[in-house]
Symmetry: C2
Subunit: 203 residues, 2 copies
């Protein structure tokens, strides 16, 4: 029997600081992330809550130059379509930074939801089946926070064709793409924390 931990003010303050300084990183240094650290971060990801304990997260590492080029090509197609809809420098800047991440990030992870998993027996997801995918998002959030605590940056790229990324990753038919993550040490630490924003509609 373990004794449940009690957390103190110092830890709570540092946790709040972590949440304020977790950022979407787009520019990475080329140095590798130590494999043991990546394993540790993926282990923390797997401690995440999941509906009916289904644990549906599946992670594929995209390493080969050829596969990375195919991901960038998917991004380029989506982005051309997106830029045709949005005007102005903001959208162009957003896209350019994301593409730099895809070119530079030493670790790239395609994160899937295994919609065919029998684990969890479907408990808790009959009326809201999307909670299976949400379990994967919770896991990604834990990975992101843990990575930042270790000085490792994460950028979430969503301007992609999900089916094409699944094909590039060689994913089984039941795996649905949730996120494509660029991971590595940031080129520069962000000098700006998140602002406190809208979160409460009261009532």
């Amino acid at each position: 029997m373990n004794t449940p931990p009690v957390f103190g003010d110092a830890f709570r303050e540092e946790l709040a600081t972590l949440m304020a300084w977790r950022r979407d990183v787009r520019r990475f240094r080329s140095e590798p992330v130590p494999p043991a650290l990546l394993d540790e971060l993926l282990g923390l990801m797997a401690l995440s809550p999941s509906v009916g304990h289904a644990q549906p997260w599946r992670v594929s590492r995209i390493d080969e130059a050829e596969r990375r080029a195919a991901v960038q090509a998917s991004f380029a197609r989506c982005n051309a379509a997106a830029l045709a809809e949005y005007e102005g420098e903001r959208a162009a800047l957003y896209a350019r930074l994301k593409l730099e991440g895809l070119r530079e990030a030493p670790v790239q992870l395609a994160v899937f939801c295994d919609e065919g998993t029998a684990r969890g027996h479907g408990l808790g997801r009959r009326t809201m089946p999307e909670t299976l995918a949400y379990s994967v998002v919770a896991a990604i959030t834990q990975f992101w926070l843990a990575a930042r605590a270790h000085g490792v940056g994460v950028g979430w790229v969503s301007i992609l064709e999900p089916e094409e990324i699944a094909r590039i990753a060689g994913a089984p038919p039941d795996w649905r793409l949730i996120a494509y993550l660029c991971v590595g040490y940031p080129q520069e630490a962000s000098a700006v924390p998140e602002l406190v924003r809208e979160g409460w509609e009261g009532g």
Copy 2:
């Protein structure tokens, strides 16, 4: 200009402990959560990443006995249908514990995604529009971790009719239910941490 924080080993270890001991809480004590603490937790939730900085999370507090009874009635309808599909004590126990949470939790939050938000200008969610909802899940994950750090338990109930919960909450048509959260001090601290589980499919 701020100096970005660097986190040390002690914090990292405590963060891993937090992730291991964050649990889905089902049994709550009746004592209230101090309003200032709830505001603090919702503030941390709002520091979450969101696609194109859309910040689509909307939180409605369900307080009145009549509205809580309507939520429990929705749960009872879903649960009867679910139990007809699953056999055995596991599903029944799962449902009974969740219902206790709905009866006892002093704070209950319906968390929505505002699919009509203009904020973010649609950036980054053209090919994967579901990332807007995922942003809300990330925020809920941060809320959950922050709550646990303060000794406050969270239980996520998904055995509900999303449209009915939106109606009970008086949500605008564009708000889509992501989660119904039971929040309060746990009756007993969980004596079992999460086990390290599957998170890595290699490759």
